[in-house]
């Protein structure tokens, strides 16, 4: 089962096993620089670091620049805010492990699956399994999250 966010939102009746997929996004260099390069107004932007600059990354032993995992963890957070509305930003939790590296240019999409439901007063706390996959369907981030509906 899967749901298109534009037509399906999480409700109290959403069953265990239901999978929500957010939109795929290409981690273009410009977007990686915007995330990891410091404020646009910074002199010399983007700041050189292991995320923004291949030469910098190679100087430190990496094969090339790697995208900060926080950038695509943000994709999952965006998906969870879509599902649980703004309340997720004051009561939501998320835990993640980074299981593969991501390079600029990779395409990533977030997934959240209902793993368990728990009654909390009049509300339901959803326990979600989360992941990000690349365009080959390989997981690059896996974890869990909770949200209340």
């Amino acid at each position: 089962m899967s749901g298109d966010l534009r037509t399906v939102a999480i409700t109290r009746d959403t069953p265990v096993g239901f999978e929500f997929r957010g939109p795929s996004r290409k981690l273009a260099r410009e977007r990686v620089w915007a995330f990891s390069g410091g404020p646009f107004a910074l002199e010399g932007w983007p700041k050189r670091n292991q995320h923004t600059d291949d030469a910098f990354a190679k100087e430190r032993g990496l094969q090339s620049a790697r995208v900060s995992g926080t950038q695509y963890l943000g994709y999952v957070c965006g998906l969870l805010v879509d599902l649980f509305e703004e309340g997720w930003l004051s009561a939501g939790t998320i835990a993640a492990k980074y299981v593969a590296s991501v390079q600029p240019g990779d395409v990533i999409y977030p997934v959240a699956t209902v793993a368990r439901k728990e009654a909390v007063g009049d509300a339901i706390r959803f326990h979600m399994e989360i992941r990000c996959e690349n365009e080959l369907g390989q997981p690059v981030l896996v974890g869990t999250a909770t949200g209340i509906r």
């Binding site: 939109p23 996004r25 977007r31 990686v32 915007a34 995330f35 404020p39 646009f40 107004a41 670091n49 292991q50 990354a57 100087e59 430190r60 032993g61 990496l62 094969q63 900060s68 995992g69 926080t70 950038q71 963890l73 943000g74 994709y75 957070c77 965006g78 805010v81 879509d82 703004e86 997720w88 930003l89 004051s90 009561a91 939501g92 939790t93 998320i94 835990a95 993640a96 492990k97 980074y98």
Partner: protein
């Protein structure tokens, strides 16, 4: 995500891989301007109006990716690594505590809460806390990472 470690003085002299349990990084402060928030909307390709349109008298919400990013300890003014070493994030847990809106002045603090060896690598875990100008806790996050040279 407990906060029961004994804190030591903020480390300004040691590199991040040398810090012990109780050591703190220097705090980081940032004013979330509309422009900064919108920079993250571009980075995240997430243009939901809740992040750029005011809601009555309320400013837009700060995107969660910005809140997560500023709580990476690489933002600390005291964060340093030895030459040839990179810090790789391996795992993390975050609890969002309060809504944060554009215009907030955030203060981020970090304390090392665990340090361990696994398969010959040193790992440490930091507790990050983000509070606004009123002292309201916005998020609490534990970050675990290691230090490697892939050469």
């Amino acid at each position: 995500m407990g906060d029961n470690v004994t804190r030591s003085a903020i480390s300004e002299t040691r590199t991040a891989d040398q810090l012990e349990v109780g050591d703190e990084f220097a705090p980081f402060e940032v004013l979330v301007t509309p422009e900064l928030n919108q920079q993250y909307l571009y980075a995240e390709e997430d243009f939901d109006p809740r992040y750029w349109r005011s809601q009555g008298d309320l400013s837009p919400l700060v995107h969660p990716a910005l809140l997560l990013h500023v709580s990476n300890n690489t933002h600390s003014p005291s964060f340093r690594l030895p030459r040839g070493i990179v810090n790789l994030q391996t795992a993390e847990e975050t609890a969002f505590m309060s809504l944060c809106r554009v215009g907030a002045r955030l203060r981020v603090t970090w304390v090392v809460v665990d340090r361990f060896e696994r398969r010959g690598r040193t790992y440490n875990t930091r507790l990050a806390r983000v509070v606004d100008q009123n002292g309201t806790e916005i998020l609490r996050r534990t970050l675990t990472g290691t230090f490697v040279s892939e050469r």
